[in-house]
Subunit: 146 residues, 2 copies
Amino acid sequence: MMDAKKVTALLRKKGFKVTPQRLAIYNVLCNTKAHPNAEMIFNKLQPYYPTMSLATIYKTIDILKEINLIQIINVGEDSLRYDAVVKSHSHIRCTVCNKVEDIMDFDFTPAIKDVAQRTSYDLSGQQFYFYGVCPECQAKANRKIG
Amino acid sequence: MMDAKKVTALLRKKGFKVTPQRLAIYNVLCNTKAHPNAEMIFNKLQPYYPTMSLATIYKTIDILKEINLIQIINVGEDSLRYDAVVKSHSHIRCTVCNKVEDIMDFDFTPAIKDVAQRTSYDLSGQQFYFYGVCPECQAKANRKIG
DNA sequence: TTTATATTAGATAATAATTATCCACAAAAA
DNA sequence: TTTTTGTGGATAATTATTATCTAATATAAA
Ligand SMILES: [Mn+2]
Ligand SMILES: [Mn+2]
Ligand SMILES: [Zn+2]
Ligand SMILES: [Zn+2]
């Protein structure tokens, strides 16, 4: 989560040019908790950058990922989602409305150690995804039934 | 993990016809620990069913999933993998050779309870994926360096 | 500020996993 | 058997993502 100045400096340092499109895409990711996919970012920016193409979104995402400004989230949908919070944390997706929310401060450590020991793998990362029905969708369902 | 007779009975009970292709595809999944994707299954069966098409693989997988004979594994590759072990268990993928292995008997219970309580979601499932370098690939790397 | 040059944005086409469609034919029921 | 319903395989469609190409742009040097 960096401000525009720091992002500018980092892009330059890594040999990438700084463009309004790149800053705008990163800015969208910093200002949402919705874990948008490429198309959602595209739609968000459409009013302000009407000529921007999806290819630009994807290319920018590659760069942001490479310089570790974002992480990629694969919750088993047909498209990937992106997150400006790079600290490792797990996610939960509502199987009704498909929103993806954070589960912060979930302690992986014991699990990771256990797995490393039992598999003899040299672990580099992990992803924990949860699925279920969110409280809002539960309430809606209850209203319909009750 | 069912034998052919039980699978036959189950397919019939659920209103699906029993065909050699369907039994063969399920059989492949029962006799491997490689977590194959559609193409790997296709290649495995090619010598014995030279006219079988990928569409048949996909359609059969849909059915096997629907009657809960297999589970679908999404380890963040460009294709999905399939597993005849339907009991919930986590997986680890080697980032060098891309093999996917089981991590059995990993106890999710505390994590699941913790998450259910903190999110108020009505949980229906979860997926834990680990990434790293497998012992074999570690050995290979060491040989090259040492 | 102007200029030089390396990169980029956007248009467009390509890729590749998965899904849909269609029909001769096979499996189960009668 | 005969009938009926569902299926396999061929083929086309879909769709997220990636590749390619070129005019335009960001940036550093002059
Ligand atoms: Mn997140
Ligand atoms: Mn498995
Ligand atoms: Zn919901
Ligand atoms: Zn390996």
